[in-house]
């Protein structure tokens, strides 16, 4: 019943959902959704570089996004501009530069829509390896920095005072954000990656009472979104990214009913 490419897309999407679940919770807790967006916008530049130099897309995107994150941190330290202005500046200028470079690359044909919104036809066995090995690495690293990262999310000074080294955890987390964008670009598309991070996590917030349960619900929400979204994509020939994100949105709307019930119970 399934063609081979679809199984590959499904396995890739499931791998991505396992990683975006916990990372998405931190994106919400630390209010990083625009940061994620900025890194994702810069991914286009990474992709074009990969095409010009015939390099692996995921690695190229990872490198460019990491560099952008470093630039952002430096700009935050050295200018008096507010954080959101810097994010907007970097997001749109890197997207613009990426698109200009695409314009020059007339000798290479590639599917820009697939890049922006995800393409289930594009997932290769190589991509699967990158997603699952990279994903496992991201999750292990996150587990390792969980305590300092979470403690400093709750209160930076407490974490610093009690010897947890939150600055290091934050720097590592930034790298992890670049990595998740790099591995999920094929399946979700670079314009919708932040949606994949925050919508399942937002849904999970409506259902959970502890950080651990929020992470678990977030993973479940992501998995359901990927599965429902990819089947829709196969059935109606829609782009995979928008289909997944729409499924995630529906789950989020469903989770709102649970909140209504809780509020009723409280009163």
């Amino acid at each position: 019943m399934f063609d081979d490419f679809f199984i590959r897309a499904l396995v890739a999407g499931i791998g991505v959902a396992f990683v975006t679940g916990p990372l998405g919770c931190f994106v919400i807790w630390r209010r990083l959704s625009y940061f994620g967006d900025t890194l994702a916008h810069s991914a286009l530049l990474g992709v074009t570089l990969a095409f010009t130099m015939e390099f692996n897309i995921a690695i190229s995107v990872f490198v460019i996004s990491s560099i952008l994150a470093l630039i952002l941190i430096q700009l935050q330290k050295k200018t008096n501009l507010p954080g959101d202005a810097l994010l907007g500046l970097l997001a749109h200028s890197s997207l613009a530069v990426g698109l200009v470079v695409v314009g020059f690359l007339t000798f290479i044909r590639f599917d820009i829509m697939g890049l922006l919104f995800g393409d289930i036809l594009a997932v290769s066995v190589n991509d699967l390896l990158i997603i699952w090995i990279g994903g496992a690495f991201i999750l292990l690293t996150l587990k390792f920095i969980w305590k300092p990262l979470f403690a400093s999310t709750v209160n930076y000074e407490l974490a610093e005072a009690e010897g947890l080294n939150p600055d290091r955890a934050k720097a590592i987390f930034t790298i992890l954000m670049a990595a998740i964008i790099a591995i999920s670009i094929k399946i979700v598309g670079l314009l919708l990656i932040t949606g994949m991070l925050i919508i399942p996590a937002a849904m999970a917030r409506n259902l959970s009472s502890s950080p651990q349960s929020m992470v678990i619900y977030s993973i479940i929400g992501g998995l359901l979104s990927v599965i429902i979204g990819l089947f829709t994509s196969l059935e109606f020939n829609t782009s995979s990214g928008p289909s997944i994100i729409t499924a995630a949105l529906l789950l989020f709307i469903l989770s709102l009913f649970k909140i209504k019930q809780t509020i009723k119970l409280k009163n």
Partner: protein
């Protein structure tokens, strides 16, 4: 290495400069095992800043800090926790260190908030949250406790009980405590060393010494001086049975 094994943290001429303005400057003090050091001073005198310098929160400071322990419990003055985080009291207790159930229960019982263990942090009142903060700081049995106005918002009876608890903890765990407080009454009865700040160390010493100090009187007024000395002064008069005061 410290020459004195009992020293937990030592500030040498420490200060913090922000935007070309010294928030606090030239602070030298040390906290030893089993001793309570109290910082007093008016608003904006650099008490919290000094505490944060001692904790190593600021990286670029004037002078130096020598810290001889990593087992630190901290109760910050203001804490801006994002209440959208799904966080129960029990999760919060294990924020910086994994603790077993008995340790958590014991600490929450000591500060009188064991019944709130499964409540969401956002649902607590100011005073309740303050008790949870204190419970969290003492639960890990730290060598050094830094308490920045630990009883703010706590009801009157609770305030006295918590100060007694702090004193008891300092004796039992023989940990050093750096305390910041506005409440001269309650604090002075327990403290070993007082540092009076006003952008710099205006005076320091035993509560009795500080009370006598002219700079202290200028800063807090004569009345505060009397409060402070009440706990340690020798009577120069006797109270008669009729309630009259008779000079010796």
């Amino acid at each position: 290495m410290s020459t004195d094994q009992n020293i937990l943290v030592k500030l040498n001429d420490a200060g913090l400069q922000l935007n070309n303005k010294w928030l606090v400057k030239g602070v030298s003090l040390q906290v030893e095992k089993g001793k309570i050091v109290t910082l007093i001073g008016p608003n904006g005198s650099g008490k919290s800043t000094t505490a944060k310098i001692a904790l190593g929160i600021y990286k670029k400071i004037g002078g130096s800090v020598e810290k001889y322990t990593n087992k630190v419990g901290y109760v910050p003055q203001k804490i801006s926790i994002d209440w959208t985080l799904p966080l129960r009291v029990n999760d919060f207790m294990m924020l910086t260190e994994s603790l077993n159930k008995d340790t958590i229960d014991e600490a929450l019982s000591l500060t009188g908030v064991i019944h709130l263990k499964d409540k969401n942090l956002g649902d607590l009142s100011g005073g309740e949250f303050q008790r949870v903060l204190l419970a969290r700081a003492i639960s890990k049995k730290p060598d050094l406790l830094v308490l920045d106005e630990p009883v703010q918002g706590v009801d009157f009876t609770g305030e006295i009980a918590l100060y007694e608890l702090i004193k008891k903890i300092s004796d039992e765990l023989s940990c050093g405590i750096l305390l910041i407080s506005h409440d001269l009454h309650t604090v002075m009865s327990a403290t070993d060393h007082v540092v009076c700040l006003n952008g710099h160390v205006c005076c320091s010493g035993s509560p009795m010494d500080v009370a006598k100090n002219n700079e202290y009187k200028a800063l807090f007024g004569e009345q505060a001086s009397q409060i402070l000395s009440r706990y340690q002064h020798k009577h120069d008069h006797i109270h008669t049975d009729e309630g009259e005061i008779k000079k010796n």
